[in-house]
Symmetry: C2
């Protein structure tokens, strides 16, 4: 699949955009007219720069408001088109996007449109230009791709074809199946964009909220499958108008964009395999290869089986050690060669990394996921342009495959085991008094309560939220769930759960409100690791006896809880006594408590009863308010 | 008019919100349940604190999903209500908001609703509580205030009344006239919110985009007029869910909110006067006084007649002096007691203030507006809670009435003159060689070209954009125009013009994209003063001859201009030679050029031909791109 991207997707100058596209590995770009008009570079310079960067210039766009106009305006439009055709010759470009008329269309006549598009095609032919005609979703008379293509067919000129744009088609819920029937020689260009399903006017939706494939909710694999079946072989090019991408770092956004196309390519192949009508499942991949467009595949991975560990980093780790100890975690010794400690409770493993920069406060640094094959998972992530993380290891130690998530959390791909243990823990222990070996504290352990990492909650910088969703979807096989918005004293926090189908891995990405001068980073960027236990009340009592500082839940909360749930008085008293929070839904119950915060990290202990699958969402505002208050009090 | 505000409008903890409301001067507040539930304060503490702050606790809200439910759920709902009634007794509150059911309604029967609301009213009566029933715009069965009120009338219980919320009524375009027919004793509460007219689902619109009255596009004065005519005398309370206000400084937002009610009060009185059906215009105000609700009035001002001056401040003013001199401005001497210079071209007056803090770069510091009566305008602004600016003056100097705009620009209210001159300029001049007096340079002037300040463009911090719109509307009598969005390499810039009806004063408020780490404040916060002249080409030629550094416009721009407008080749060559930009519409033509930037300030010279009323919007992206490029190059 030839990959492309419109310069309007990115921030910066045309030069910066082109360089970023080359670095990200795109085959070609679409030149958005405004980027050219505002550039100090001459068309010839742009042509040369593209050649040097290994980028083809695939599409000049947009040419607006051409068809369905009076004869006067039509003459001016032809003149305007010719100026652009001449400019394209200097750029060495041969395809221009002409959108259906939005602003100046005054005559609703297909025969007039055929005549006007025909004359445009004729002029284009004289200049060696191909016109790709596109139906905008809000076109005045032409808003449907099939209508646009009927016009193209009626004109029947070699220099006029169709441009298919997934946004304009899927935003209007047009059926995509008829794409397969289009003569591939008449599909001059294909643009793709995803979008969240918003119910707002389609123009605003299009101009502000498009996202890269995999970051929204459109059925893009299906759209692309039809395009591939039609026999199209040209560029598949991103055209994404997004307020955030337009102001984010250009190189990073370009990589995010490229990742989305690599992912889309794989998903399209899957869709084709899944909907192949011929033969058995085994031959499906074979039948796909009959299509002219070649779809590259990625190393396949299943969703992770669980968290292998979580790592917290700090210069001064005393507070972290104290908290974990009070929660009931057991110190399993130090690593034999590194300045890290291992703390465990059942199968919940926390590494405390002491190798932090000076003055750095405790923070979540890394997560380990159990996967079938760390090498294959790492290969997949790297093909999806995830940056590799390298950590020093000794020859006889387990090598972790690590990649860096968009928020800089290090993600390690670990070899899962059927019983949930981790071989690398053998590298930790107390120095044996006889010298040489390590004495494993786990051997001394009699009755460790059952515990696992239930979920991890990471604060996301607002510029990289969509990127993070695509990263975890494509590289880590997690599924985004419908998002929630949680009120906090500092603003609404957008909360996006990414999880495996069985809930064994649950990540909560929190998009914090933009920082205020008054606020401190600590306030909005608190993150946490939650552990699930079998008996939360017992865990809380033990923790209290060990002196744990609980997050203090207001008495008003328990009154409201009682009003909502009509709880048994003894149970309510227990919740209140231990600062436990409670939720209930049709599937089950949820009990949980939070610790005080150390640096930007706190811990949560949870108990899931029945099939409760949430996170106590009604309680999140309480947590935010109390944390805000405790930061603002000091 | 009794003023109120719901705590959900503001950021921070309940305590911070209450304090801010008291400082801003509200009469009372609505307690939003979540603020109470998440607060460490006991209900009795909140009651006491409110009393100490002089705030009444007017409404407890929201109580959701009560009506139209099965008998089982109804019993639970009554129980839930009783818990809240008891809580309200501890708070000393007597009114609760009950919203029409959104989530759990399953039986669409008005007779069932009358029965269930009746039983609720009975229970409320036992607790001395008044239930204000409100139709949510997206209520499952009840979404129309008239429907809600029919239910209230059918129940006919002294403890059940109606809550009217402008958002739920105006977002659905319900007719507001029938409000007048409602028995005022049955209107238990009135909530007001404004909103921009967005075409999106009403729930998202309501939860994120409400603004304070005067910051949106709803006809609130009319809504309030009907409420007043109905005979309502209770609180008029703001209920504004807004993503930005929720994260802005709480005290400042509370003042913005209070300003909106003061303004609404005046606008409502005006609407009543304007629609009074009895007697002459002279007796209109008299007839308004017949209504039970008292509406306070503000000192009346007309829109300003023009800019009196603009002031730029810097530690090192050499570059500014050079630019103004090259543009053709004349140095009119120094102030006799202050470190400020006066530069003029025709009636365009620029003050260069040298009293800047050390290391401060040149920036726009103040604007003077010509008004009929500076004292009355200042009194009005102060009643609208605008902070007063005090500047030292000598006994025999003109005293400027100054107020501070939301972006900290100082706004001075100056005595306008019929011929556009300003008396205070006599305080400037060259020291007379004979000692004592000042020699006025204007006396030496032979042929000053006609020039005025055409518009001023101010960058707005994103947290205070809506506040700025209301400030200039209410205190300065400027009218907001439909806003535009301008693409720039750093993101979309939202551009909001505020102007007088004759265009004599034009302010452009630019909402810059949020800052990136890479970007520099200079980049997005460039601001400018534009001067209108009669012959831009001549002005540009002279400026060029004086060595002015023009903003360099790319050659590509002129090619595109030619494609769009088919310009006369000689004219196009002149534009290109002088770095002039051009626009044309049905009303006329616009020529303009920009200078290089000094600090965060640059200047623009414009010529308006015919009745062109815009700002060269199609050229703004070019300006942004070139400025971005010049900042990033260094």
């Amino acid at each position: 699949m030839r990959t492309g991207i419109a310069t309007v997707c990115l921030s910066g100058t045309l030069k910066e955009k082109m360089q970023a596209c080359a670095i990200a590995g795109f085959d070609g770009i679409e030149i958005f007219e405004q980027d050219l008009v505002t550039s100090p570079l001459a068309p010839e310079d742009i042509r040369r720069m593209a050649a040097d960067l290994g980028l083809t210039l695939d599409l000049y766009q947009p040419f607006r408001d051409f068809d369905s106009v009076s004869e006067d305006l039509f003459a001016a439009n032809l003149r305007r088109a010719e100026a652009k055709f001449k400019l394209m010759a200097r750029l060495g470009m041969d395809t221009i996007l002409v959108c259906s008329n939005v602003a100046t269309a005054s005559i609703d006549s297909d025969s007039l449109r055929v005549e006007q598009l025909g004359r445009l095609a004729g002029l284009a032919g004289e200049h060696g230009v191909r016109v790709a005609y596109e139906a905008l979703a809000w076109g005045k008379y032409v808003s449907d791709y099939e209508h646009a293509h009927r016009l193209v067919e009626a004109v029947d000129h070699p220099n006029l074809g169709t441009c298919l744009d997934s946004f304009h088609i899927l935003s209007r819920d047009w059926d995509t199946a008829p794409i397969e029937a289009i003569n591939p020689g008449k599909i001059f260009f294909v643009q793709v964009a995803d979008a969240p399903k918003l119910s707002m006017d389609v123009l605003s939706w299009s101009r502000h909220y498009r996202v890269f494939p995999g970051e929204g909710q459109f059925e893009l694999a299906k759209f692309m499958g039809h395009v591939v079946r039609a026999g199209y072989t040209g560029p598949v090019s991103l055209e994404v108008f997004n307020d955030v991408f337009r102001q984010s770092d250009v190189e990073r956004t370009a990589v995010d964009a490229m990742r989305s196309l690599i992912w889309l390519e794989e998903q399209s192949a899957k869709w084709l395999d899944g909907t192949s009508t011929e033969g058995t499942a085994g031959s499906a991949a074979g039948s796909r290869r009959r299509y002219p467009m070649e779809l590259a595949t990625l190393p396949k991975v299943s969703e992770p089986a669980g968290f292998n560990f979580a790592e917290v980093k700090a210069e001064d780790t005393v507070q972290l050690e104290k908290l974990l100890g009070q929660l009931g975690f057991e110190f399993n010794g130090r690593h034999r060669t590194k300045d890290v400690q291992l703390w465990t409770m059942g199968q919940a493993r926390v590494i405390i990394n002491e190798q932090a920069a000076s003055h750095s406060e405790p923070a979540i640094a890394a997560l380990g996921f159990d996967v079938d094959s760390p090498l294959i998972a790492s290969a997949r992530a790297q093909q999806l342009k995830a940056p590799v993380v390298v950590r020093k290891v000794q020859a006889d130690e387990e090598v972790f495959q690590g990649i860096s998530a968009p928020d800089s959390t290090e993600i390690f791909l670990c070899q899962g085991s059927p019983d949930g243990t981790a071989a690398w823990t053998a590298e930790f222990g107390q120095p044996d008094e006889s010298g040489g070996g390590l004495q494993h504290s786990s051997l001394r352990d009699v009755a460790t309560p059952h515990a696992v990492i239930d979920h991890v909650n990471l604060a996301q910088p607002w510029q990289h939220f969509d990127e993070a969703v695509l990263f975890y979807t494509s590289a880590m096989a997690l599924e985004p769930q419908p998002f929630a918005e949680v009120p906090s004293p500092g603003g609404l926090v957008r909360s996006q759960v990414m999880q495996t189908s069985d809930g064994a891995v649950r990540l909560v990405l929190n998009l914090a409100p933009v920082q205020q001068a008054r606020s401190e980073v600590r306030k909005t960027y608190q993150e946490h690791i939650a552990f699930a236990v079998d008996d939360l009340v017992a865990t809380a009592r033990s923790a209290r006896d060990r002196g744990l500082e609980f997050l203090q839940i207001p008495a008003n909360y328990y009154e409201d809880l009682d009003a909502r749930f009509d709880l048994e008085p003894g149970f309510l008293a227990t919740l209140k006594e231990l600062n436990l929070l409670y939720d209930r839904d049709a599937n089950g119950e949820f009990l949980h408590f939070y610790t005080a915060t150390v640096g930007s990290v706190f811990f949560e202990m949870v108990e899931r009863r029945g099939n409760y699958d949430g996170y106590g969402a009604p309680n999140a505002p309480v947590r935010h308010a109390v944390q805000y208050d405790s930061v603002h009090r000091f």
